[in-house]
Symmetry: D2
Amino acid sequence: MRLGVLTGGGDCPGLNPVIRSVVKRGVLELGYEFVGIENGYMGLVEPDLAYPLTRDAVRGILPKGGTILGTSNRANPFQYAVREGGRWVERDLSDRALARARELGLDGLIAIGGDGTLSIAHRLLEKGLKVVGCPKTIDNDLSGTDQTFGFDTARATVTEAIDRLHSTAESHDRVMVVEIMGRNAGFLTLDSGIAGGADVILIPEIPYRLESILEKIRKRQQHRKRFSIVAVAEGACPVGGHLAVLEAADAVPGRGVVRLGGAGKVLADALADRIDMEIRVTVLGHLQRGGSPTAADRLLATRYGCKVLDLVRDGLWGHMTALRGCDIVAVPLAESRKERRVDPRGELVRFAKGMGISFGD
Amino acid sequence: MRLGVLTGGGDCPGLNPVIRSVVKRGVLELGYEFVGIENGYMGLVEPDLAYPLTRDAVRGILPKGGTILGTSNRANPFQYAVREGGRWVERDLSDRALARARELGLDGLIAIGGDGTLSIAHRLLEKGLKVVGCPKTIDNDLSGTDQTFGFDTARATVTEAIDRLHSTAESHDRVMVVEIMGRNAGFLTLDSGIAGGADVILIPEIPYRLESILEKIRKRQQHRKRFSIVAVAEGACPVGGHLAVLEAADAVPGRGVVRLGGAGKVLADALADRIDMEIRVTVLGHLQRGGSPTAADRLLATRYGCKVLDLVRDGLWGHMTALRGCDIVAVPLAESRKERRVDPRGELVRFAKGMGISFGD
Amino acid sequence: MRLGVLTGGGDCPGLNPVIRSVVKRGVLELGYEFVGIENGYMGLVEPDLAYPLTRDAVRGILPKGGTILGTSNRANPFQYAVREGGRWVERDLSDRALARARELGLDGLIAIGGDGTLSIAHRLLEKGLKVVGCPKTIDNDLSGTDQTFGFDTARATVTEAIDRLHSTAESHDRVMVVEIMGRNAGFLTLDSGIAGGADVILIPEIPYRLESILEKIRKRQQHRKRFSIVAVAEGACPVGGHLAVLEAADAVPGRGVVRLGGAGKVLADALADRIDMEIRVTVLGHLQRGGSPTAADRLLATRYGCKVLDLVRDGLWGHMTALRGCDIVAVPLAESRKERRVDPRGELVRFAKGMGISFGD
Amino acid sequence: MRLGVLTGGGDCPGLNPVIRSVVKRGVLELGYEFVGIENGYMGLVEPDLAYPLTRDAVRGILPKGGTILGTSNRANPFQYAVREGGRWVERDLSDRALARARELGLDGLIAIGGDGTLSIAHRLLEKGLKVVGCPKTIDNDLSGTDQTFGFDTARATVTEAIDRLHSTAESHDRVMVVEIMGRNAGFLTLDSGIAGGADVILIPEIPYRLESILEKIRKRQQHRKRFSIVAVAEGACPVGGHLAVLEAADAVPGRGVVRLGGAGKVLADALADRIDMEIRVTVLGHLQRGGSPTAADRLLATRYGCKVLDLVRDGLWGHMTALRGCDIVAVPLAESRKERRVDPRGELVRFAKGMGISFGD
């Protein structure tokens, strides 16, 4: 059995442990061979981006963030950006991808990635390529699985950042706004906000009213707590607001786009007009995608990597690994498209409110 | 409603977040009052160890290890060590504990602790004291709940220690033995060993043969991997071995006993006789119980603390909080006595073996 | 001897260890008494901001960032912002500060702070208040002393952030821009950039040319290194550029002003027009002022705190502590006004260039 | 110019940054070539342990502990352990080392290591091999230089460990003994003890009296501080005591020797007989030599690495780099043999005593 391995989408701590466990167990226990496909699906379209993925190649990568295979956010074989006549156009190069897989002698492909990567995997399957998947999203917003690797590391990074801001906020009259990843789902902001002791938590699922936030800050001042920490998801909006600007910025294809200070900046500007305190904004940005995976993420990723080989062995093509309770199971790839959201009436939000945290609603 | 709160047993990161969430939600949402009982059950037996536990008292404790209430390993009201005639004897002072609870005007008691603490809680309940419990064990060996707070932090600490040993081990011909907490259950060693990339993992549930470990080390040498990392639980023993010495040392009541280098030292000595490499032993000891709780543990502890108030409100005396899948539920206190062990034939051990990790069996 | 202690200016890891060592040594060895003055000089102007600073008050603060005394960026007794007729005006309330010091029975004042705090201390000395100082600046730009506490912690924080960005940058074709504190001095950016392995380092002392940076990035692409990390100080400017906007934003007195993405954003926008790679900006902001002080900073701060008592004991009013080589010495307060800058022709910049790091010149 | 590079002695965070900066600056700015010699001097005696040390070979090693070249504690060409007739004997193979250097075409050798490594370098110089050195000792006990790389990282590791013990110690009646590296010099224990807030610090330079330590612990109990933290250097001894046992254990040549719990265990046993508190011992062991180098160590190591090339370029064979105040200078290799010790009457010890820390004297 000879399998291709690729990682796609935004990167995420835990990709290397998945790759490592796939190769170690695959070679040692199952006698499989592996081919590393570089830069996501780009490596199936372009030449010279595939190499033998041996045990030596995965040595020492367990504690490392990122992915030794590289990744690509936009390389979709069905809409592949190519330069024609001085500009970028999209072409369907999926046949080339299948041909390349045959050329490399692949009996199957292990695709590790998010919604986008796994959707493409599904389409390639329909065209005849045997694929299994490993879901990945730092946002933890995948309904098919209880938790995705990378999420715990991102949560730890953000919580540590809020801890740091606490120590400096406490010394001043100050509102600290920290902008956290999450355009559609607030899991990362909710968890980190609670774990870091934020006073206000703003998530996409709960539109906020500025007045409600101001009330919370003023109430704290009255109790001589001079600072407030506001954890705000990138995608949090005021009641009636929307995300037009963000989406526009991201829509530019194949071009570098600088995006800085979405929801955090918008909020801070609005607050600055109404309160007589200093406001400071921190945009954690890609810090949240980097760093050594936590022990919990290394374990989850290792279990995913080992389990995906069971799927291969059992011929469960078109499936992906998922965590259900304490177990790693196989679910259809299509599950990767069902997103989940923070339940505004769920227990965690209720508990947080009970403890006095404001959600701005 | 006026509730006592105490923490008992060996300490464990997450105790402070439990206390904090109990008090914050209890005061703000439910209008309860709290009395902090210091040093575990000692605070119910001795005078002057109780004080009002207000919101001010819990400010800033979320990121702190340990417990602001103090704890005590051995203060059991039913077998309370008292000095009589120059020596220590045990007396049943449970009536005094109940009287003290009445004196403090307690409507109920929240006992946060391990098996011992919760067993005592159960016996006090039988004598008429209303109690609810929050389970705590760094060993994660409680069958009533899927995970206990403190475990993730300990796992992170041990994994980081193994990471550190890796970097130095790789530069030398060397066997690094790291002794990890866990007298009866190997969960901490198993998880940290996998997450840290250990070559050999020895746990109480799988008796080891020295020859098998030597074989693994020699095989690595043959592949020019000059070092090996051995993660060994305190309670790991060779086939046919036992833990008599350890237990004897711990049996001395009310006296300082120095214990150092149990299973790790025993193993290292045995290895030193048979291989021509340097061997180094690290005993992590109480490092594993200290440090700021991880984000995951702060969240779990916060949820436990909020939930235990639901038990109080709903009159579920004699119950404790537990994690089942993704939910916090109430289970009878008696569940705290059912221990669980690593399944030697379970998926995680099988995956680890598939990746080439030796368990010495 | 009864001494006031205050901390002023932007906060900085190490303030608590200074306060702790002053109080511990002062009380235990020298028999002094201390009064904590809250929120910098505000505590000498406003009532109710002074309290006995006992050994109990400083317990457990050694590992904590921030300052238990609070601080204030703008409370200058000589130009004190007061509200008159609905708007802010500045008044000289220095006499009130002196009167308050007498009222509190102070024999002297220990002022811990930056250039601003120590300049005010000097003016109060001229009006008759006995003061000694402890210099503090996270920027390390004080010519009177070889290193200031807080700098090592900030350097560690920034280096760790660059480490994190590395792991994610390496997986993508990407330019990572990280904006680092330092409006006038580039020490923090220079040190962290080298320690974090940045490819480009931009500091206020070396105006940059965009073309030079682009050249470096392109050269890396040619060598198949697909990412570049750019460490840029807040105050870095292109050749011929200036900082007008930044200064304007900071000039608004007594008002919350949101400032985000100075030099980093400017640079990223300029790069985005000219290269075909994704660019990501991270603004570390106040993360750099928070967190537990490093061991090195705790030591330096502790030595400063112990030494400043020697100055008091020896009657060296008008002096401050300073590090010279390996020794803590006393220098006149006026030294706090002499700033230093990175030497563009110094050894460290030369070494960095020798290793291939671009400074954009 | 073609230079060999080797690392010798116990490993130490910062070795990789030295190697990296040597190669990066050497290749890019000076046009030198490098040969990596593996496992210290073993690589000059045995075959097949040398390889081209290119820029690619040093990519990504800046944040890594250990040394990519490997090291060896005992490989001395002048007393090389060889197996003859079934047992280990020592032979002078220095001529073979010189021949190997010629064979590899080396114009000179850069030896990075401690006292032992640099002494051997000096003897090889006398036999005609051109060498320069980079001093390395985690103990910081080298009089020729103000600070050695690796020391700051070890100090950070130990301080963090003491922080962790604090949080658990505070919850119990307990004496926590932490054993820290340093057989002859107490710098690491002194610095970490102060930075971690230890109550008792025991170093080789100040013999301790048990009664004095007990007095300190009891005094703390009287002030209701129930725990005490004792930082003890491996080489600390009671008044009149000595280190015979330790030295014997280390004297066994070419054999794995398990050493565990020297001074820490001895002390704990002695205390256990006399106080009625639990005592816990942690032996940090090789954790202190591992881990990613701190920013400060990466910088110092990078400066050493760049500077040692100036020595080569300027023909300063027989010299090594050293830190004097803020400058990196060249000093004769012989300086590596002058050790320094903590001054028991120096300012830092005096300050610590002033703050109430006991040294057991």
